[in-house]
Symmetry: C2
């Protein structure tokens, strides 16, 4: 993006925003990358907005001149969502971090889009409620809505799709609208809330998010169980889900991931395919769930099933799980993780995970598999040095096989990270002619194509 229109727009916005508009290199660089391996692309300017009227002001100005707008907050995207591919304005929502309302009785909260998940949970600590969705990073709720994020608890509490009740949105033309109501059900009109959840910032700017909260369970028990074989571990997951037991978390780590967790978090888990589990409920109910899952695990070669309701033990375990993303250095110093994200019908989970492991084993790369397996969702991380072209190419080859196989099994090329930039090429493979309908919606709602251009909504 360049030219007089851009310069004029930036200068006119500067009149309002003063030093909350920045064209400094360091600021633009910060807004030009995220947690993905996508190359940096700097915006022309960064604007720090403080309320939705200011968002509307920026978007209206950009609409008038056809200037790209890309929302930004925590910058924790795994797929380049916040990278302003076509330049223009990076709209920084981090200062829109007010918690507007917590309705204890209705178990919901209304927050500005820049509020992070940990901030929300800290704020509501004394209400007896919590917000369960936990992607690895301390992401913003606007960003989590935009990528349809989830995490370890989706198997019990759902993803952002199920937990966002309503939104405030600035449309690409600069109007402010409300989508949805706080009610648990409604049958009135097209589900615009769900349209914006997962739209990756391409249809407008989410300024407020109303989310469901959930009662903190009376008892939380965690369990770890190692398995003789990877297939055994995965099949125990499938049997658990099919039994209808409402496990709160059921995470798989392969041997490589367990070793990384041991080294990074100082655990001493047996180096074997392992499930981390969590049960929520009354003391008796938690014990009953745990007993049943232990019996299931036994059937599939599980051993050393250890469960505990002690908070410290549980927190150490889940911290290790969440930090697997940071544990790669202990496996291969100087490496970066080439992260992937697939989700398959649970009947295909064992085949899918086994095939991914075989791919790694027959490659020269190191790779680990972790997953929110109760949903059929898992990640293969290839630990590469991206500056070595052969390693990058090999990771790309394996990822391509992983994604295509998931789609061939009726699965999807993203369970929770979203599409971003490099995976756009898979959209038509998965959705076929439905992509034309997505493009038509984008063209109708964003006729000048200013919202996060070059991504979802403009796909061949």
């Amino acid at each position: 993006m360049s030219g007089q229109g851009l310069t004029d727009t930036i200068e006119s916005l500067r009149l309002h925003f003063g030093d909350r508009l920045s064209t400094a290199d360091a600021v633009r660089e910060h807004h030009g990358h995220d947690m993905s391996r996508q190359p940096t692309r700097m915006p022309d300017a960064v604007v720090y907005v403080e309320n939705e009227d200011e968002v509307a002001r920026v978007v209206s100005a950009c609409f008038a001149s056809g200037i790209p707008v890309t929302p930004f907050a925590a910058g924790s995207s795994m797929e380049g969502h916040t990278i302003p591919l076509k330049g223009g304005i990076s709209l920084d929502l981090t200062r829109m971090n007010r918690i507007l309302a917590v309705n204890n009785a209705d178990m919901d909260a209304q927050v500005q889009a820049g509020v992070t998940r940990k901030q929300l949970n800290a704020h509501i600590r004394d209400t007896g409620l919590f917000f369960p969705i936990d992607p690895g990073a301390d992401a913003s709720l606007g960003g989590m809505a935009s990528t349809r994020a989830s995490g370890t608890t989706a198997v019990r509490y759902g993803t952002m799709r199920e937990n966002v009740l309503a939104l405030r949105v600035v449309t690409p033309e600069g109007k402010i609208i409300t989508t949805g109501r706080r009610t648990r059900k409604s049958s009135t009109g097209y589900d615009l809330t769900k349209l914006f959840v997962g739209a990756e910032g391409t249809l407008g700017v989410i300024t407020e998010v109303t989310v469901k909260l959930h009662p903190i369970p009376e008892t939380i028990a965690s369990a770890v169980c190692s398995f003789a074989t990877m297939r055994g571990a995965v099949e125990a997951v499938v049997a658990t889900i099919q039994s209808g037991i409402p496990v709160a978390r059921i995470e798989f780590l392969d041997e490589v991931a367990v070793e990384a967790a041991n080294r990074h978090a100082g655990l001493s888990l047996k180096v074997a395919p392992t499930l981390f589990l969590e049960f929520h409920g009354s003391p008796r109910w938690v014990e009953e769930q745990s007993t049943t899952v232990r019996e299931i695990a036994d059937e599939f070669g599980g051993s050393d099933f250890a469960w505990s309701t002690r908070t410290e033990e549980r927190e150490r375990l889940w911290k290790a799980r969440h930090e697997t993303i940071y544990s790669n250095q202990t496996l291969r110093p100087g490496c970066k993780a080439f992260t992937t994200d697939v989700c398959v019908p649970i009947s295909r989970l064992a085949d899918s995970v086994m095939a991914a492991r075989e791919d790694i084993d027959s490659s020269f790369l190191i790779g680990k598999i972790i997953g929110h397996v109760g949903d059929g969702n898992f990640h293969v991380g290839y630990l590469i040095k991206p500056e070595i072209p052969e390693e990058l190419a090999e990771a790309e080859r394996l990822a391509e096989r992983l994604y295509q196989r998931a789609m061939d099994m009726g699965g999807t090329f993203s369970g929770e990270h979203g599409i971003g930039i490099s995976k756009l090429k898979y959209l038509r493979r998965e959705h076929g002619e439905a992509v034309d309908m997505m493009n038509a919606i984008k063209a109708a709602l964003d006729p000048r194509g200013i919202m996060n251009p070059g991504k979802l909504g403009q796909v061949e």
Copy 2:
């Protein structure tokens, strides 16, 4: 709709469909009304389609000539959705009633749009799975998706919004697309599935529905509890939901509804505000849930809390609940129910129900209140003789107050019946400028406005 284009299109379709295209008055009359109190409006012709290619054939022909198409199956809409307001073709999907796949391991089923909920449950009886969503009528799954239907179990299992995984859809231009995947999660692309769920047949024709199934609980216990006051009953519901107990059903009947149920179904319930409950789970877990809810009920003036795991007792109870719609005659022979449908945040449920009762008590009409109160959703039925203008006008006046009050409380003018015809006037009151976005989506996806015209998507 009239003119040469219409005649030509009907005749050209007749070449393919033969006697599966009908212009007979009796057939057109059947397709010109539903379970609502909307006046009959006959289509110009009815086409009985047998597969999605035939749907595409009809829609393509209508697209070419700008002829309205209105999908029809069970005809059980409560709000006139299937009434072809502008004439044209009524597309009868009742012969598309094949169950295409039941995936036991993945707990999902793929069915043609004309399959009804009871048909699906009969088919899967031996799998250990069930499909929980139960509007009063034996509706088709395509229709249930289109109205975002729910019923008594939504408090535990969600509505069609949460239970539809994927769809096959014929677009207004006659293309066949697939929306979504069978996976439990996906972050790839705009959520077209959720866009069609609740679109009331205005964006295309749903031809196949993939729904989640759920494990049949090991134990099902039902309970009935009567309360000294209506407020006590409703507040017991609120406290139960806030406690996090996963009740499977929690239904409220006011005194008038209880009396109707007693007379119609031969029950002998105490004539008082009453909750019908159901608990799903293991025997111990069900007992624990029931005990806790009983304690909550006691706090709010509940008495005669009776619970049972006996199938016959439970079925008789729920049959009475489901048939409350047919029980009106016992209260006032010759009457018809003027049915309403609101949903409010649960913190406002008691106020909302109490105000509705006060409205009835201060009117000359008889009315009853029943509700899926765990979701904040309830129905007021005014038992009127619609041929008496004063009664109809009074019902409309009370309904208007009910809807406006729900919206003022942050609620919605439909929890589960949808908008249809007569409630379109509330759409902008509830959604404001978001209605413009709905209209833009409709215009983009259905540029000739042929899909179920005169309803959602074309609102001032």
